[in-house]
């Protein structure tokens, strides 16, 4: 008998909302939280709008972790704290070897790498920080969370671009099924530094609009690419039995996951790989396409990719399933974008409310997009879609625990 893995805690750190309550308030109201970049001076850049997290690191992160971590890891540490508080879990676990951490990111500690490179090349080898060897590593967030919270169990670091948030949840479920009692899983990302952004301009996927209200319009005829964002989302995942024993209320069941690869980078226009990921996830969840009550779309706002996603949703579910993309209000936070989508989906199932796409005047197709205002609905099963730039597709089925 397979063990059911449930999510008992959600810790989002997003533009407009640190913690589940704030995050839910921001996305369910459909607020637009995009603004001109303040992390550095974007004056000479084609991209000037982003979703920035308003975050007091000094308040949320213990000093000794603060000095040796990148902003991304600081988001991750804070998100893990929030998720554990939400799950009413205070580390250390009774058995530290049964508690593990699995995280993902696209660019790792990019800002730390840029700072380190600057010191080395401007001042010389003697000026390289002793933290340089790990602060910019993709493994830093898993390492620091495991150290701070004494989690000695199965630890890991996955990189599947923007799909990573979903893949880490699937991996946490693997660990639970192999006997781990509690897993912290999720994504942390802080790509709003000059060097992480600059190489992307030539790829022409980022929105160059200077107007925050119209910069990120997925599924619209005016779609012109996505707005980059920073943030994190961590989850507490445990077996249903352990959650019950602890008296912690499960918010969602990780019920099915599918991962595939499209050999065409930059969002395969055919959508074939994404469709297969959906079918795998739905089959694994033991449900049928008509059981899906809401789809959280990948929503890149890159016209060919939006078109591919619409085609996939239509071919599998028809035009009746509600489709939403709250990230249109706060930006696409790379690996954290799918983790924040999963957080939104969990909260959505929990509240019986679908958070909207803030604005969508002229949709490219007649799907049932949830636009402008939250929609109350009987939600039992949610599907979250994600695509990585390099061709990774991922689909995750989450269910309300009573089903």
């Amino acid at each position: 008998m397979t063990v059911a893995a449930v999510i008992t805690g959600v810790g989002p750190v997003a533009p407009g909302g640190v913690g589940a309550t704030e995050f839910w308030q921001a996305i369910s109201a459909g607020r637009n939280l995009l603004a001109r970049i303040t992390r550095f001076d974007p004056e000479d850049n084609p991209v000037t709008i982003a979703g920035e997290v308003s975050f007091d690191a000094d308040e949320l992160i213990e000093h000794r972790y603060l000095v040796q971590t990148d902003r991304a890891t600081q988001f991750g540490l804070a998100a893990a704290d929030l998720a554990m508080a939400d799950a009413m879990f205070s580390p250390p676990a009774l058995n530290p070897f049964a508690a593990g951490v699995i995280t993902t990111s696209c660019v790792g500690g990019a800002e730390s790498l840029q700072r380190g490179l600057g010191k080395l090349w401007r001042c010389g080898p003697d000026h390289v920080s002793p933290y340089q060897s790990f602060a910019s590593s993709h493994a830093a967030t898993t390492g620091q969370v495991s150290i701070r919270d004494t989690m000695k169990g199965p630890c890991g670091v996955l990189v599947t671009d923007e799909a990573g948030g979903l893949d880490t949840l699937a991996h946490a479920r693997r660990a639970i099924r192999r006997g781990a009692r509690i897993m912290i899983a999720g994504a942390a990302e802080a790509p709003l530094c000059p060097y992480a952004l600059a190489p992307q301009y030539s790829a022409r996927m980022l929105s160059e609009s200077a107007d925050p209200r119209t910069a990120y319009l997925p599924f619209s005829h005016d779609a012109r690419g996505y707005v980059p964002a920073e943030g994190a989302a961590m989850f507490v995942v445990e077996s249903a039995a352990d959650a019950a024993e602890r008296g912690s209320r499960p918010k969602a069941v990780i019920s099915g996951h599918g991962a595939t690869f499209s050999a065409v980078a930059a969002f395969d226009p055919s959508g074939e790989g994404l469709a297969m990921a959906c079918r795998k996830a739905i089959t694994a969840a033991g449900c049928r396409p008509e059981d899906i009550d809401v789809v959280f779309a990948d929503a890149t706002a890159i016209p060919t990719a939006d078109r591919a996603e619409v085609t996939v949703i239509k071919s599998l579910f028809g035009t009746k399933v509600p489709v939403t993309a709250p990230k249109a209000g706060f930006g696409r936070a790379y690996a954290s974008s799918s983790a924040l989508d999963a957080a939104a989906a969990v909260l959505s199932l929990d509240h019986g409310i679908i958070p909207p796409i803030p604005a969508l005047a002229e949709p490219i197709d007649e799907l049932d997009f949830v636009v402008g205002a939250p929609r109350r609905a009987e939600l039992r099963t949610a599907l979250v879609l994600a695509r990585g730039y390099g061709g990774m597709n991922s689909a995750l089925v989450l269910r309300r625990p009573d089903h």
Binding site: G108, C123, V128, A139, G143, I147, P154
Partner: protein
């Protein structure tokens, strides 16, 4: 019926030669490949040595396009994957592409390429806001190491789960372990897995200098990496790649593949102690070893060879020695345990995969590679490290150990095919 995971093909790119044959020849000859760095001018640095690969792309399966467009670590991986696929006899066209996956590990990915571009775009570090027009055209791909998994997936036609593992220095073992889990869980029938790394660049050398974990024996590069030796003073950087073809056992048998060995157990734990430091007792690594033995349903005395992490730092070698003693008890003194990093250096996220190939070869060829440069053992490192010369030795079960920054401790057991009829427990 319980699924089982076997290895049906291997490929390797390592200092001293490309391909499994050259690699095994180098290891059994006990020949260190550590030299002064030639990839860049390392004069200003404390540690100026590395074991570098000499890859001739055209000879080793990479095309002109690959050489032009692929970052160095991707070229290593491509060469190793090409060899592994050929070795396995896997015919991609006959496979269900959605059931073929890829899991590759790397610690730094394209960090060297990012550094080269940074120097140009920032005018040698003078500017914080960078001029994007001076970057190379596909530089946005360099930030995410997932390009490694994607590149290998394109090469072998995989359309199942394609994931990259970036858990630092244990990434190579972790990628293979994760691949095995995908097969056991029924998410794929074939997974091409391994690790690749090309870390030899100023920023990497500079960051390791800053915490003094690399050897500074620049006047004697060949004997600079001395795992378990009294006079060891740190690791020496390496580079390379290794790729293994993992298959569900019945899938392999059905297509008539040669089974090289079986993946019998895998665990990765975190010591939750320090990002770069280790506890001397080695307790967490010992727990990982015990977990792997339990999964494989093996007793300590059934282990015939241990491929050590053996970096040659003061801390690691004691930590590892104590872990093995804790896990295996008195038997720890009887099992040969060696570090091939003494010859090919530390290729970070690739080394775990490279060492798994060495372990699989030990099983297949009935010999264990030596620890080179072990002249006088540290009194606290008192196990059988197979000093200097390879040893003929029948190996049914090999254990490969990894330990890295972040506190990750990873262990994998490989077993001779059908050396025992029991089925793998949950891995």
């Amino acid at each position: 019926m319980m699924r089982r995971v076997v290895i049906t093909g291997m490929g390797v790119t390592a200092p001293g030669g490309v391909g499994v044959s050259a690699f095994w020849e180098l290891l059994t000859a006990g020949r260190p490949m550590t030299r002064l760095i030639t990839r860049f001018d390392a004069t200003p640095f404390r540690s100026r040595m590395a074991a570098e690969c000499d890859l001739h792309p055209a000879v080793h399966g990479t095309t002109t396009r690959d050489t032009r467009w692929l970052d160095r670590y991707l070229q290593f991986a491509t060469a190793a994957a090409t060899e592994a696929l050929r070795d396995s006899g896997l015919n991609a066209v006959e496979e269900d592409e959605w059931r073929v996956g890829v899991v590759m590990g790397t610690a730094l990915g394209s960090a060297a390429l990012l550094e080269q571009n940074y120097v140009v775009m920032s005018d040698s570090g003078a500017k914080w806001e960078l001029d994007h027009q001076y970057g190379s055209p596909h530089l946005h791909l360099a930030w995410t190491p997932s390009m490694l998994g994607a590149e290998i997936a394109r090469l072998c036609g995989a359309r199942g789960p394609v994931h990259t593992v970036s858990s630092g220095c244990t990434a190579g073992i972790d990628a293979v372990g994760y691949a095995a889990q995908l097969i056991l869980d029924g998410d794929a029938d074939v997974v091409v897995a391994g690790g690749a790394e090309a870390p030899i660049s100023p920023v990497t050398v500079g960051s390791f200098d800053a915490i003094r974990v690399t050897s500074s024996r620049n006047d004697d590069p060949e004997h600079s990496c001395r795992p378990f030796d009294r006079d060891r003073d740190g690791f020496v950087l390496g580079e390379g790649a290794a790729v293994l073809v993992l298959e569900e056992r019945r899938h392999a048998i059905r297509r008539g593949a040669t089974v090289l060995c079986e993946v019998a157990g895998y665990a990765t734990l975190s010591s939750a102690h320090h990002m770069t430091g280790l506890t001397t007792d080695g307790r967490v690594l010992a727990v990982a070893i015990t977990q792997v033995l339990n999964q494989a349903r093996l007793g300590p005395t059934e282990i015939d060879y241990i491929s050590a992490n053996g970096t040659g730092t003061r801390q690691n070698d004691r930590h590892e020695t104590n872990a093995v003693k804790l896990a295996l008890g008195q038997y720890a003194y009887s099992v040969p345990m060696s570090s091939i990093k003494s010859m090919i250096g530390h290729a970070l996220g690739a080394s775990g995969a490279i060492e798994l190939v060495a372990s699989a070869l030990a099983i297949e060829r009935g010999a264990v590679p030596p620890t080179a440069n072990l002249m006088a053992a540290d009194p606290e490192c008192d196990l059988d490290y197979v000093p200097d010369t390879a040893r003929e030795h029948r190996v049914n079960v090999a254990l490969s150990l990894g330990s890295g920054f972040g506190g990750f401790q990873s262990v994998m057991a490989l077993r001779r095919p059908d050396s025992r009829g029991v089925e793998t427990s949950r891995l």
